[in-house]
């Protein structure tokens, strides 16, 4: 039972990070029909911004972390939108998908060539100490580390803040209107262009926060985006692909399922289970776990 609780907590902690990435993914899809195959790399990159800030400019870690978030909003938000997405937006989804696949390669190889091919240690905001009950007698302890709880709290707070922003502020509601129907939103006087830009900025910030939270555990490495991107994608689809709430649930679910499957069923097929869930949801409940029927379908 202790093991089970421990696995659930570990799953929630990593799941919360997946949720951050999945929410950003969903937001981009909603407002601009961008299926971002570079989302995993977006989560990989900000950690290197912070590392570079500390290494080359001697910034202390908290400052470097803030700088990384701001730089991510600029590059992964503004630059990504204006340089990659906007020129391709008129061409439809597929060329943009291909372009983001290219971008993923570019970011991955860029970090590898210009920073390092090796995994990097990354500092944590939280102490790596056990705050659970004693675990010294082989197997029956109940271990929860402070950094797991810290990750869970920060990620959840970020998600709650975002949900509040989308639901309760004027800008947030305008963004949701844009996501649901840009034409109507424009008629109603919403500055659609600006709202779309906001989603890109939010995605950049979410990716950076996810990066700063995950890198102390996962280590920062150029190739880590491949797995993360797939997980974010799966979480987003499991959650319905057109709903922020769905992506959050999807993220947590994938995190927990992954841990439980590895512990109780099979380690060599652990990747298959979230995907099996995905297929089942597509077949039985195509609008996603919490999703509504796609309103923009032809």
């Amino acid at each position: 039972m202790n093991d089970f609780i421990q696995l659930i907590i570990a799953g929630l902690a990593t799941g919360s990070i997946y949720a951050l990435a999945a929410v950003g993914f969903t937001l981009l899809w909603q407002t601009s029909q961008t299926i971002n195959f570079a989302q995993g790399e977006f989560v990989m990159l900000p950690a290197f911004f912070a590392l570079a800030g500390m290494k080359f400019f001697g910034l202390p870690f908290p400052i470097a972390a803030i700088a990384a978030i701001l730089l991510s909003m600029l590059t992964l938000g503004v630059l990504f939108k204006t340089v990659v997405v906007d020129p391709l937006h008129k061409q439809g989804t597929l060329p943009l998908v291909i372009s983001t696949i290219g971008l993923a390669i570019l970011l991955r190889e860029g970090v590898k060539e210009f920073y390092s091919a090796e995994a990097q240690r990354f500092p944590s905001f939280f102490p790596n100490i056990n705050i659970g009950t004693s675990a010294a007698n082989g197997g029956s302890g109940f271990n929860v580390s402070a950094d797991q709880i810290g990750v869970l709290i920060v990620a959840t707070a970020t998600i709650l803040l975002l949900s509040w922003f989308l639901a309760s502020t004027k800008t947030g509601r305008q963004m949701q209107a844009t996501a649901q129907n840009p034409t109507v939103a424009r008629i109603l006087g919403v500055n659609v262009e600006r709202m779309v830009m906001y989603t890109f900025l939010i995605n950049g910030a979410l990716a950076a926060i996810a990066s700063l939270l995950i890198s102390p555990i996962y280590l920062a490495k150029f190739s880590s985006g491949e797995t993360l991107g797939l997980v974010a994608f799966v979480a987003a689809i499991v959650g319905g692909f057109n709903q922020v709430r769905g992506a959050i649930v999807g993220g947590f679910l994938v995190g927990i399922i992954d841990n439980l499957v590895a512990a109780y069923i099979s380690t060599s097929y652990r990747q298959a289970v979230p995907l099996a869930l995905l297929v089942m949801i597509i077949l039985l409940r195509p609008q996603g776990l919490l999703g509504r029927a796609e309103e923009r379908a032809v």
């Binding site: 060539e113 692909f241 597509i282 195509p286």
Partner: protein, 352 residues
């Protein structure tokens, strides 16, 4: 170009493909041919192009997305390798690889196409990972991470096709047959339905075309092409393991087809050049080659989403008609989008 010129042109091309890699000095022509590696790369290009042709049918003509072409390639490759180990001759292996992929394609596409657009992409994505996990974990069948070694090249009429050049000719012949089949398929009344489909699915449906049935067939046939390619791939490399059949490779197939020119008949061949030969040409760039590759792809998508074929067509049209309006030539471009507004513009363009 008049008709005679076209025929001569075609014949020369066929000759170049047949004789290109061969050593012709014995015939008095000062052409030493390609070394084994050059021939290998050329063969790999053909194999890749066959699988890419399948993607083109699915993406460029049927307007769907597949993220499982490498997985089907793997199914084909392992089918051929395993049957060969069981003593079945190559011809049957080749057919079996295609047929199995066709059946799996039907089984996979039938439920997935029931739901909306993009969902085939999601299901194929999951399928890709499943197949890879199966290949890697089921050691009793596939050899697991150690793969299958010593896959022999076939013997035809008592001649061993082990030498690189002979095997290249076999692959060239099979590719020619598959290309002709695809050409015929797209020109047949059955194939014309695709053209109607991709230009306006709703109108096609109202004209009595079974959209779902056609899309499903396109997906299954496209997947079968990957199976055929896999059957040629295994004896080419003579060794197969899980890595070339992972999700990343499937993404690369999608990438090469769109970069080459989705919905254009030669697109897959050009796309395969990008995937197989560009890395060879960028060898000088060493570690930077993937960075250069990525930038080229992104620029191409931004400035010419119809791919290299579209770019080429645009350039030649401009050269021929210097005063032509700057609207690109109508390639009968596929509806590449999920965005209904983009679809609407394409349709309007095609109708005008």
């Amino acid at each position: 170009m008049n008709r005679n010129l076209k025929i001569i042109f075609g014949l020369v091309l066929v000759l170049v493909f047949i004789a290109g890699p061969a050593d012709l000095t014995g015939l008095g022509i000062p052409w030493p041919g390609l070394k084994r590696y050059g021939t290998y790369i050329l063969t790999l290009w053909l194999v890749t192009a066959v699988a890419a042709m399948g993607v083109n049918l699915i993406v460029g003509y049927a307007g769907q997305e597949t993220l499982a072409q490498a997985a089907f390639l793997g199914i084909g490759a392992f089918t051929t390798a395993l049957l060969q180990k069981a003593g079945v001759p190559f011809g049957l292996n080749f057919l079996a690889s295609g047929v199995i992929c066709f059946i799996v394609g039907i089984a996979l596409g039938f439920p997935a196409l029931r739901v909306q657009k993009h969902y085939l992409a999601f299901v194929t994505l999951a399928f890709s990972v499943f197949v890879w996990l199966l290949i890697r974990n089921e050691e009793w069948l596939t050899g697991g991470v150690n793969g299958i070694k010593d896959i022999r090249r076939p013997i035809l009429l008592g001649i061993s096709l082990r030498p690189a050049l002979y095997y290249y000719w076999l692959v060239l012949a099979l590719t020619a047959v598959l290309t002709a089949a695809m050409w015929w398929l797209l020109r047949s009344p059955w194939g014309r339905a695709f053209t109607a489909l991709r230009e306006n699915a709703i109108r096609a449906e109202s004209l009595g075309i079974d959209v779902r049935g056609y899309t499903l067939m396109a997906f299954a046939i496209g997947s079968a092409y990957a199976g055929f390619a896999g059957a040629m791939y295994a004896p080419l490399v003579e060794f197969i393991d899980p890595s070339p059949f992972a999700l990343g490779a499937s993404l690369q197939f999608l990438l090469m087809v769109v970069a080459g020119g989705a919905g254009s008949f030669v697109g897959p061949f050009v796309g395969a050049v990008v995937a197989v030969l560009l890395p060879e040409w960028l060898r000088f760039a060493e570690g930077y080659y993937l960075i250069i590759f990525a930038i080229i792809v992104m620029l191409l998508m931004a400035f010419c989403p119809t791919g290299i074929v579209g770019l080429f067509a645009r350039l030649t049209t401009k050269a021929r008609r210097p005063h032509a309006d700057d609207k690109g030539p109508s390639l009968g471009g596929p509806n590449l989008g999920g965005d209904p507004t983009a679809a609407a513009t394409t349709v309007a363009g095609a109708n005008s």
